[in-house]
């Protein structure tokens, strides 16, 4: 039972354009969402997060949007750079102090120079 889904295994985007990565979830109890970025041979690194009380959170080139009614979140990267080429995982959790994350299956983003 995949509670967090990333339906696009891969995505290619031209350098300088916008990259949009999507994530859907089924568990309505989730109230905190995170995006992690993973390079080959390295562990995932935390990128950006959003609480369910917000619908948008921005950090530099990265913006996460949350649509609770659709149980959908997306990560926008503008402008895309070659160093953004990596696998991106979305993750979700619920409840204060519950640090147990449920991860999606990942999307491999390739930025074309």
């Amino acid at each position: 039972d995949q509670q967090v889904k990333q339906n696009s295994p891969s995505l290619s985007v031209q350098e300088g354009r916008i990259s949009i990565l999507n994530c859907d979830y089924t568990n309505s109890m989730f109230d905190y969402f995170l995006w992690y970025k993973k390079y080959p041979a390295e562990g995932p690194t935390f990128l950006i997060s959003i609480s369910s009380i917000k619908d948008k959170n921005e950090d530099g080139r990265f913006t996460v949007f949350l649509n609770k009614s659709a149980k959908h979140l997306s990560l926008h990267i503008v402008p895309s750079q070659p160093g953004d080429s990596a696998v991106y995982f979305c993750a979700a959790t619920h409840g204060f102090g519950n640090e147990k994350l449920t991860f999606g299956t990942g999307t491999r983003l390739t930025i074309i120079p």
Binding site: V4, Q6, P9, Y32, L34, Y36, A41, E42, G43, P44, T45, F46, S49, S51, F89, A91, F96, G97, E99, K100, L101, T102, F103, G104, T105, G106
Partner: protein, 113 residues
């Protein structure tokens, strides 16, 4: 910077062997986690610990056990390794509390022959 160190980057073992994977963190985090990452399945939680000598099962605990004798160290044990445990294993740690991101080690690529 948070440092999560996994003892081995690559490990090759035989079926039936008892295998120990070690993880150490230097940030005094209360919580520590073990995941495995497989293609098309994302990261799946095996076990986590929220305090010394405390542990909780994750989503796929079968065939594994854990040990946390000291706050900074969390060990994953494969009691009798099998080929379906060939995978990338990732350790993570975090503080307790709402919205605390997890910090990951670089992973151990384990092959069971």
């Amino acid at each position: 910077d948070v440092k999560v160190t996994q003892s081995s980057r690559y490990l090759v073992k035989r079926t039936g062997e008892k295998v120990f994977l070690e993880c150490v963190q230097d940030m005094d985090h209360e919580n520590m986690f073990w995941y495995r990452q497989d293609p098309g399945l994302g990261l799946r939680l095996i076990y986590f610990s929220y305090d010394v000598k405390m542990k909780e099962k994750g989503d796929i605990p079968e065939g594994y056990s854990v040990s946390r004798e000291k706050k900074e160290r969390f060990s994953l044990i494969l009691e009798s390794a099998s080929t379906n445990q060939t995978s990338m294993y990732l350790c993570a740690s975090s503080f307790t509390g709402f919205n605390q991101p997890q910090h990951f080690g670089d992973g151990t690529r384990l092959s069971i022959l």
